[in-house]
Symmetry: C2
Subunit: 164 residues, 2 copies
Amino acid sequence: EDIVVRGAIIKANLATIVLTGVPNHPGVAATIFAEVSKHNILVDDIIQNFYDSGRMANVGFSTDHAQLGEAVEVCSRLSAEGGFGPVEVDDEVCKVSVVGIGMRTHTGVAAKLFNALAKARVNIHSISTSEIVISCIVRRDESHRALRAIHDAFELDEPPENEQ
Amino acid sequence: EDIVVRGAIIKANLATIVLTGVPNHPGVAATIFAEVSKHNILVDDIIQNFYDSGRMANVGFSTDHAQLGEAVEVCSRLSAEGGFGPVEVDDEVCKVSVVGIGMRTHTGVAAKLFNALAKARVNIHSISTSEIVISCIVRRDESHRALRAIHDAFELDEPPENEQ
Ligand SMILES: C[C@@H](O)[C@H](N)C(=O)O
Ligand SMILES: C[C@@H](O)[C@H](N)C(=O)O
């Protein structure tokens, strides 16, 4: 019985910033992250989507909650200089992630994760994925409920059969 | 000398869809991906950001280019039923990724990647990251230039010192 989702992890004390209304042409991401890096602001994950027929982008990243103040200053300045839209802030959040293998070919895994969180009335603020991880940013005060829901949905509290 | 970026990979024949103007409350991601999964639409990466003071979200995912037509149909229906905004489409794209270790603590890596792409005049449509991967969605006809720029910037064509 191949187990697809192997575990769940939580990363606490995060905050997310989204630079909205970013002109979608070469050089902008470079400018943003050179500036963020210059201020020694930790970057956990970066999430960017495009919209407005590809003319615009929303560039989001999560950082350490302790650095939110400085990150907002840096991003507000970038937004003013670059003519971006509003800087969105997501204070006091955590990242809950499921870790597994072959999660893409098992197309139901993401849906199952989101359904587990929905049933627990946990709102998903941001989503980021890779080959082996599906990560959701949620409110800090909903994160334990989220982790519980994930453990139940994917039966993560039971030892694998070959360990019994 | 610790080498942070170990390699670059390209995944071709992708297309991206972004559902914009998605109400940011529990249950919506579950509805979207249950429907996508029901139609056997392959999901490569999922990228979601929030905006409008947290009231709205843009939910993006990449799929196989061959499935774009069906994915657009499914998403258009979801958008109509859910009262979402426009469905954005990114046709004929590739995902270029750098693979490495400790890329988060080395805050300059993302900036260096984006700078390399900017210098090559490659536009970055979407960004998604994890602990060990930074992925950028770019136009198919810019993907080889992107990969070349990444190889040059991170000196990936040279064998590691301990292999000489
Ligand atoms: C928005 C930003 O990523 C831009 N498209 C760039 O290439 O830098
Ligand atoms: C937008 C979507 O992710 C929503 N926030 C949900 O939790 O389902």
